[in-house]
């Protein structure tokens, strides 16, 4: 099928565009240069070969040699592994299988974690520094405002439900109630123990 090589080509282009957004990509790729990582996507039974070089990653749809590392899994589990904070969990849970040189696999995974993408820098190539900085500031302040607004809304909602409508108890009330429940449970346990003790002494006599 022609779809696979075309897909590999597009993916290669997209991945490298993304990687180039990090200014230090050459430094990050250096330890991986010359290695071959095979990614086997399970439900489709298709394999792509990722070959990092000094400044980009080539994606091949066929490779006649033996890859250094093979990662096998579904698209989602592989993506999760690439993005998650604890990639080893994917291996232990069995969602992703790794074969061959584990260090290469780990370095490859670390590459995506180390990426430091600075959209402002990328934008500045097209618009110049001043506009890029202003745009980035605008986006940042916008994001901050949204975050703040969400936080405020959460606080207001809690306060309203607890203090105004009294539909929900406040935290101290809940704590007190839970303490009382705990006390009663302990009392009950002690009482039960006491009854059992008395029972045994009655039977003995």
């Amino acid at each position: 099928m022609l779809i696979k090589p075309i897909f590999a080509g597009i993916l290669e282009k997209a991945l490298n565009q993304f990687l180039q957004m990090d200014q230090d990509i050459a430094f990050l790729l250096q330890p991986l240069a010359g290695k071959v990582v095979a990614i086997h996507i399970q439900p489709l039974a298709e394999t792509l070969f990722l070959c990092p070089n000094n400044d980009n990653i080539q994606i091949l749809e066929q490779y006649s040699g033996e890859p250094d590392t093979t990662l096998t899994g579904s698209i989602s589990s592989l993506a999760m592994m690439g993005l998650s904070e604890t990639p080893l969990q994917s291996f232990f849970s069995g969602a992703v299988a790794i074969e061959g040189d584990i260090e290469t696999g780990e370095q490859f995974q670390a590459l995506f974690k180390q990426l430091d993408i600075d959209p402002e820098e990328t934008l500045s190539h097209f618009t110049g520094d001043i506009i890029a900085h202003k745009t980035a500031n605008l986006v940042r302040s916008n994001l901050n405002w949204k975050k703040q607004a969400l936080e405020n809304f959460k606080l207001n909602l809690t306060e309203f439900l607890q203090e105004e409508t009294r539909d929900l108890p406040s935290k101290p009330e809940v704590d007190l109630y839970l303490d009382q429940v705990d006390d009663i449970r302990s009392d009950l346990d002690r009482l039960q123990a006491r009854i059992e003790q008395l029972n045994t002494s009655v039977k003995a006599s």
Partner: protein
């Protein structure tokens, strides 16, 4: 029928020894206008075909690539990007005129260093055994007199694990495309050739030689006969062009 001493040149039968000269005549006369004509003839799609062929070649950085019948160096430009600084591309063509045009063009683009140029006949390649990771022949195989010995020669210079990529006009897979394509290549194409390159005959030859080229399956069989393995082909634009790929194992 072709007897042992003649071969086809377009729809004509000519003595085998003469085909090389005749093909040379065609390409000598079209060399300077070759790129413009390619764009006109294929309406620019030849760039996509070439890109897909390069993708199918699965070239890695550091690979050694032979671009046979490389002409004006379109494929070499794409290969050079993929092999990086540590690899090497040899641009080879039987036609000195085309090779010179190609070399000037690549130098003008600033592509130098690890590109080498060689005037060779594909039937008897002057390279050592097991030299290249990929041998590619783009729109050239149909002009070769003895295709089988060319494929054998390509197989010889390949490293084990290397692949041959044949990008060539082929035969449409459905009737409608075939009709449109026939009309286009026999009626329109020579006219465009006459106006742009002022050479109707050469472009008539191009159209005829495409029809005489083996069909997808036959070429695949021929590649297997030459010793290549895991041979497969990919049709593009309804089979007007096909990429054949085979490995030396």
């Amino acid at each position: 029928m072709t007897n042992d001493n003649t071969t086809h040149f377009g729809f004509k039968q000519v003595p085998k020894d003469d085909k090389v000269k005749l093909v040379r005549g065609v390409f000598d006369s079209v060399a300077s206008q070759y790129d413009i004509m390619n764009d006109l003839m294929s309406m620019g799609i030849h760039r996509v075909w070439k890109r897909i062929a390069v993708q199918l070649a699965n070239i890695r950085e550091g690979d050694q690539v032979l671009d046979l019948a490389g002409g004006t160096g379109d494929l070499t430009t794409l290969f050079k990007k993929r092999v990086g600084d540590s690899g090497q591309v040899v641009l080879a063509d039987i036609n000195a005129e085309m090779l010179t045009t190609g070399r000037s063009r690549l130098i003008d683009k600033g592509l130098t260093g690890n590109i080498r140029y060689a005037q060779v006949n594909a039937e008897c390649l002057p390279f050592e055994d097991n030299t290249f990771d990929c041998v590619c022949i783009g729109f050239g195989l149909r002009n070769v007199t003895d295709k089988l010995s060319a494929l054998k020669s390509m197989h010889r210079v390949l490293k084990p694990g290397g692949r041959v990529i044949v990008l060539e006009f082929s035969h449409p897979t459905d009737k409608i495309t075939e009709k449109v394509y026939d009309f286009y290549s026999f009626k329109l194409l020579p006219k465009i050739g006459a106006i742009v390159a002022k050479d109707e005959d050469s472009y008539r030859y191009l159209a005829e030689s495409i029809r005489m080229h083996p069909k997808q399956d036959e070429l695949k069989q021929m590649m297997e006969e030459a010793g290549l393995e895991r041979c497969e082909f990919f049709n593009m634009t309804q089979g007007i062009v096909a990429v054949h790929r085979g490995y030396k194992i």
